[in-house]
C-alpha cells in the first residue's frame, strides 16, 4: 500500500515512511541528477590543480596550471578579448532585438509576421553554418559582399573584414538577435498598455513615449536580457574558433580548445581557463536569476487582456519596414542563399553567369555517400531522441519533487539541475572528458559519453519546461488519484505525466533541436565512429571541403526547418521557441 494517506500511512503524513518505493524512485532521480551535474565539475576542479598524468607518472598537485594561465602575457588580452567580444555581441543583439520588438509590438509597420517567423532562425541555422555562411559573404578575399562592392565601386580593398573582433561581434550579435527580440517582445507584452496610453493622452510624442515610458519601464527586462545574451556570447565557440583563431584573436572558449588540441595537449591549462570562464558565466546566471525574481516590481495588474492599439508612425513605417527587410536579408536571406549557391557548385566559386552554367547537385550525392556522414546522421538522431527523452523524464520527476513534496533540500535539487545553464558547452565537454578518463570504465570514446554530456547540458531546459506546466497543475488532481487508491507510480504514470504532456512534448522538441545543433561539447568528446552531423560539418570546414559542407548544411537546415514547422503545428499551444 503506497497511496498517499492510505492505510499503511495512518498519520497521513507524506514522508513518514522513507522506505516506500516512491522514495527509492525519487532518491534515484535525485542521485542521477546530482551525479550528472556535480561530479564532472568536481573532476574539472581537481584537474585544474593537477599535473597531467603522463605514462606511468601519477598526477600531482600543482598550482602551475593557474600560474601558467595567469602569468602569461597572453592572458590579459585573452580576458579583454573575451569581455569585449561578449559585451559587443550581446549589446548588438540587444539593440537590434529591442528595436525589432518595439517596432513590431507598438507601431503599425508592415511585414509584421515576417519578423516573428525570423525568430526561429537560431533554431534552424546552427551556429557553425551561420558563421561559415558569413565567411563566404564577408571574408576579405572570397566574400561575396566584398566582391560585389569591389565590382560596383571599382575599389581595391574589401568593404568588410569578417576575420576581426568587429566581424565576430557582428556575426554572433546577429545570430542571437532573435533571442533578444523574443525576450523584449514578452517584456513589452507584459506591460500594462494604459501606462503608454496615459503618456499619449498627456501629449507625449511617440519617441518620447518610447524613451520616457516604454524602455524605462522595460529596463529590468533589458538588463536581464543583456545578462542572458552575455553568458551565451561568452560561451560561444563557433564564432571565435572560425573567425578569431585564424587571425590570432583568442577568447576563453577558443583558448580552451586550442590548449587541448595542441601537441602535447595541456588539459591542466584548459581546466584553469575553464574555471575562470565558469566563474564569469556563473556570475552572469546568478545575477540574471536574481533580477528575474525581483522583476515583479513594476508589474501592474489590469483586468483587460487586450493589446494596445498600435501607434501610427506615419511615413516612418516604410523606413521601419525597410529595416525589417534588411534584417531578414542579413539574418537568413544572404546566409542561406550563399550556402545554397555553393552547395550547387563543383568547386567553390563566386556567383557569375559562367558559374551558373555549372550548377550541379553532385555535392549532395557525394556528401551523402561519405561513410562517416551516414554514421553521423544516425548518431545525431540517436543522441537527440534518446537525450531529449531521458532529460524530459528525469526532470519531470525532479520537478515533481521540487514542486509537490515537502522533501527537505528540494530547492537544492532545483539548483543542481539548473546549474549546467552556467556551464559553457566546451567546459562541460572538458569536465566530462576529465571525469570519465579518470574514472575509467570504458565510457570514454563511445557514444555513451556524448549522451551523458547531452543529458547534462540540457537538464536545465527540461526543468524549465516541466516546472512551467507543473505549476499550472492543481495538486488536487493527484490527490484525488491517490484517494482513488492509485499507488504513487501509477498516479505519476496515469495522471501526472499525461497532464504534463503538452509541456513534455514542447520541451522534448526543443531539446531535440538543440541537440542536433550541439557542437561545443561534442567537439571534445567525439572519436572516430561517434561523430555527429555538426562535427562532420566542422571537419569538412577544416578540410576545406566547402561545397560538400554547404550541401550537408542546406540539408540540415531544411530538416530542422521541417521539424520546427511540424512541431509548432503539433504543440501550437506551447510553441517551441528559443528561451
Amino acid at each position: 500500500m503506497t497511496s498517499v494517506g492510505g492505510i499503511a500511512n495512518p498519520r497521513g503524513k507524506v514522508g513518514a515512511f522513507p522506505v516506500e518505493p516512491r522514495f527509492l524512485g525519487m532518491g534515484a532521480v535525485g542521485a542521477a541528477i546530482a551525479w550528472l551535474a556535480l561530479v564532472p565539475l568536481g573532476f574539472l576542479f581537481w584537474q585544474s590543480f593537477m599535473t597531467p598524468r603522463v605514462g606511468g607518472r601519477p598526477a600531482q598537485f600543482t598550482l602551475g596550471n593557474y600560474a601558467g594561465a595567469y602569468s602569461s602575457p597572453d592572458t590579459l588580452p585573452l580576458l579583454a578579448n573575451s569581455l569585449a567580444f561578449a559585451a559587443g555581441a550581446s549589446l548588438l543583439a540587444l539593440a537590434v532585438g529591442s528595436a525589432l520588438a518595439w517596432i513590431n509590438e507598438r507601431t503599425n509597420t508592415p511585414f509584421k509576421s515576417l519578423v516573428y517567423a525570423l525568430s526561429v532562425v537560431p533554431l534552424v541555422i546552427p551556429g557553425i553554418l551561420f558563421v561559415v555562411a558569413w565567411i563566404m559573404l564577408g571574408s576579405p578575399k572570397i566574400g561575396l559582399v566584398n566582391l560585389a562592392f569591389q565590382k560596383a565601386f571599382d575599389a581595391d580593398g574589401p568593404l568588410i573584414d569578417i576575420y576581426s573582433l568587429p566581424g565576430m561581434i557582428f556575426v554572433d550579435g546577429l545570430h542571437y538577435s532573435p533571442i533578444a527580440f523574443l525576450l523584449m517582445t514578452s517584456a513589452f507584452r507584459a506591460m500594462d498598455p494604459s501606462l503608454e496610453e496615459a503618456a499619449m493622452m498627456s501629449g507625449a510624442s511617440i519617441g518620447g513615449i518610447a524613451r520616457r515610458v516604454t524602455f524605462t519601464l522595460a529596463w529590468p527586462a533589458v538588463a536581464a536580457s543583456f545578462l542572458i545574451l552575455f553568458v551565451r556570447s561568452i560561451e560561444s565557440f563557433e564564432t571565435p574558433a572560425l573567425l578569431g583563431l585564424p587571425v590570432g584573436i583568442e577568447v576563453f572558449t577558443s583558448a580552451i580548445y586550442d590548449a587541448i588540441h595542441r601537441y602535447p595537449s595541456d588539459v591542466g591549462l584548459a581546466s584553469a581557463y575553464a574555471m575562470t570562464l565558469l566563474a564569469i558565466t556563473s556570475f552572469g546566471v546568478f545575477w540574471q536569476s536574481r533580477m528575474s525574481s525581483r522583476g515583479g516590481r513594476y508589474a501592474t495588474v489590469t483586468g483587460k487582456g487586450f493589446r494596445p492599439r498600435r501607434m501610427d508612425i506615419g511615413r516612418w513605417r516604410w523606413a521601419a519596414g525597410g529595416f525589417f527587410l534588411l534584417y531578414a536579408l542579413l539574418v537568413i536571406g544572404l546566409p542561406f542563399l550563399v550556402l545554397l549557391w555553393s552547395s550547387l557548385q563543383k568547386f567553390y566559386s563566386a556567383p557569375s553567369w559562367a558559374a551558373a552554367k555549372n550548377i550541379t547537385p553532385k555535392a549532395y550525392y557525394a556528401v551523402l555517400a561519405y561513410p562517416n556522414v551516414a554514421t553521423a546522421i544516425w548518431n545525431s538522431v540517436f543522441l537527440a531522441l534518446s537525450g531529449a527523452t531521458i532529460v524530459m523524464l528525469l526532470t519531470a520527476v525532479a520537478c515533481w519533487i521540487v514542486h509537490r513534496t515537502k522533501t527537505r533540500g528540494r530547492w537544492l535539487l532545483d539548483g543542481v539541475a539548473s546549474a549546467p545553464l552556467a556551464l559553457p558547452g566546451l567546459v562541460m565537454g572538458l569536465a566530462i572528458m576529465v571525469c570519465y578518463l579518470a574514472l575509467g570504465g570504458g565510457v570514454y570514446g563511445t557514444i555513451w559519453i556524448m549522451l551523458i554530456a547531452y543529458v547534462t547540458r540540457f537538464l536545465p531546459y527540461g526543468m524549465r519546461y516541466n516546472s512551467t506546466s507543473m505549476i499550472q497543475l492543481h495538486p488536487e488532481l493527484e490527490e484525488s488519484a491517490a484517494m482513488s487508491g492509485a499507488s504513487w507510480s501509477l498516479t505519476f504514470g496515469r495522471v501526472v505525466l499525461p497532464l504534463l504532456k503538452p509541456g513534455l512534448v514542447a520541451g522534448w522538441i526543443y531539446i531535440v533541436i538543440v541537440s542536433v545543433r550541439e557542437l561545443s561539447s561534442s567537439i571534445l568528446l567525439y572519436s572516430p565512429g561517434t561523430e555527429t552531423v555538426s562535427v562532420v560539418i566542422w571537419e569538412l570546414w577544416q578540410n576545406g571541403q566547402y561545397v560538400e559542407l554547404s550541401a550537408l548544411g542546406v540539408m540540415l537546415i531544411a530538416a530542422l526547418f521541417v521539424f520546427v514547422v511540424a512541431a509548432q503545428a503539433v504543440s501550437r499551444q506551447f510553441g517551441v521557441r528559443e528561451v
Binding site: 499619449m200 493622452m201 519601464l217 501592474t300
Partner: protein, 378 residues
C-alpha cells in the same frame, strides 16, 4: 462642449466578423457638463470613450470638441491622441511606477512642445496636487501610494494639462466602498470648481445617478436613452433601461385607449384596469409593458380614501424582508407578484389581505419593442 455624431467603432478579430463595439453613438455634452456613459459590462462604454480619446480609430462618424473637429470620417480628419489635449483617467490609473508623484503629475507639462519654465511648471503641478490633496506627498515614489491616492494622482495628471475635455473610465471601480463614496464627492467638487466638460464611464448606476448632469444608457454598443438622472430613473424609455436602473415591477397588458381629459392611457392588466402614463404614443389595441418602481407601490391596511385619481388593487402579503430602514413586501395580486418598498411601521403579517394604490404618473407604459421581440424570437 463635446459632440459625437454617428460614431461606429469596430475591433477586428482573428477569425469571424469584426466586433461592432460602438454603433451609431450620438450625443452632445454641453460645456461644463458632467456626462455619464452607463451600461452593463461589455456594452461598449470604454470603446466609445477611447474613440473620443483617439486611442481607437473609429470606422465612421464625427467628433468635435469646442468647435474643433478631432475626428471626421467624411472630412478624413484624425487628430492623434497626443494632439487632442484631452485629459484621461484610466481604470487601472496607469500611474508610472518609475516616477515620483511629482514627476507623474508634471509629465504632461514636460512633454509639451513649447515648455514652460521650471518654476512655472512647479507652481502649476503643486496647485493641482494641492487640489487633490497630494501636495504633501509630492516627492514620494508613485508606487508607495494607496489606491485612493493613486486615483487622485491620476486625476491630477489629467487636470494639470488644463484639458478641453476630461475623460474618466470607471475611475472609482478599484476602490473599496467607503473610499468610493468619498471620492465621488471629491470628483464632483473638482469638476464643478473647474467647470470641466467631463465624460464619465461607469457600470455603477448609483455612481451615475449621484454624479451626473446627464446620463446616456448604453446597451450592446448603442445608446438607448439619454436624459437627466431623474428622467432616466422615473421615466425609462424602454424595458432595458427600466430593468438596468434600480429595481422595478413589470406588468404586461393591453392598451385600451387614451383619455383626453387626464392625458392618461387606459390599460387592462392581470392586476386590474389601470390608468397609466406614457411618453411615447401607444396604439390602442396593442400590447405594452408597465414599469412600476417598488417605492411607488403603496400599501395600506385601511381602505384608501376615494376621490383622488389612483389605481387601486387588492393583494395578499406573500413574503416580507426586513431591511432596517425599509421593508420589502412581496404582494400577490391574482397571478402577479408585486414588489413594494414600505415603511417599517407597516406590520401586516404574511397571509393577510392588503390594499395597493399606485399613482398613474408613476405607472410608466413602455411600448412593445418590435426589434427586441423579433430578436428574442430569432
Amino acid at each position: 462642449m463635446l459632440s459625437v455624431k454617428g460614431l461606429n467603432t469596430e475591433y477586428k478579430t482573428q477569425k469571424g466578423p469584426p466586433v461592432k463595439a460602438a454603433q451609431n453613438v450620438e450625443f452632445e455634452a454641453p460645456k461644463g457638463v458632467f456626462f455619464t456613459l452607463l451600461g452593463p459590462s461589455g456594452c461598449g462604454k470604454t470603446t466609445t470613450l477611447r474613440s473620443i480619446a483617439g486611442l481607437e480609430r473609429p470606422t465612421s462618424g464625427a467628433i468635435e470638441a469646442n468647435g474643433r473637429v478631432v475626428y471626421s470620417s467624411s472630412q478624413g480628419v484624425f487628430v492623434p491622441p497626443n494632439k487632442r489635449n484631452f485629459g484621461m483617467v484610466f481604470q487601472s490609473y496607469a500611474i508610472w511606477p518609475h516616477m515620483t508623484v511629482f514627476s507623474n503629475a508634471s509629465f504632461p507639462l514636460e512633454v509639451r512642445k513649447n515648455k514652460l519654465p521650471k518654476a512655472q511648471i512647479r507652481e502649476k503641478v503643486m496647485k493641482v496636487l494641492h487640489a487633490v490633496g497630494l501636495d504633501h506627498l509630492a516627492e514620494r515614489d508613485a508606487t508607495k501610494l494607496s489606491g485612493g491616492q493613486q486615483q487622485r494622482l491620476a486625476l491630477a495628471r489629467a487636470l494639470v494639462m488644463e484639458p478641453e475635455i476630461l475623460l474618466l473610465d470607471e475611475p472609482l471601480s478599484n476602490l473599496d466602498a467607503k473610499l468610493r463614496e468619498k471620492m465621488r464627492f471629491e470628483l464632483k467638487r473638482i469638476q464643478r470648481e473647474l467647470g470641466l466638460t467631463t465624460i464619465y464611464v461607469t457600470h455603477d448606476q448609483g455612481e451615475a445617478l449621484a454624479l451626473s448632469h446627464e446620463i446616456a444608457v448604453m446597451n450592446e454598443g448603442r445608446i438607448v436613452q439619454i436624459g437627466s438622472p431623474r428622467a432616466i430613473y422615473e421615466r425609462p424609455a424602454n424595458r432595458f433601461v427600466a430593468d438596468f436602473i434600480g429595481t422595478t415591477n413589470f406588468v404586461d397588458g393591453d392598451v385600451k385607449g387614451f383619455d383626453d381629459q387626464t392625458k392618461l392611457w387606459r390599460m387592462s392588466t392581470p392586476i386590474g384596469d389601470l390608468m397609466v402614463s406614457s411618453d411615447a404614443p401607444l396604439t390602442a389595441g396593442g400590447k405594452a409593458t408597465l414599469s412600476i418602481r417598488p417605492e411607488d407601490v403603496e400599501l395600506t391596511e385601511e381602505a384608501p380614501p376615494a376621490g383622488r385619481l389612483l389605481n387601486l388593487a387588492n393583494g395578499v402579503v406573500d413574503q416580507k424582508v426586513f431591511l432596517g430602514d425599509i421593508v420589502d413586501f412581496q404582494v400577490r395580486v391574482g397571478d402577479v407578484m408585486l414588489l413594494s418598498r414600505a415603511h417599517p411601521s407597516l406590520r401586516t403579517p404574511i397571509g393577510d389581505k392588503i390594499n395597493i394604490r399606485m399613482d398613474p404618473m408613476k405607472c410608466v407604459a413602455l411600448p412593445a419593442e418590435p426589434a427586441a421581440a423579433a430578436q428574442a424570437a430569432a
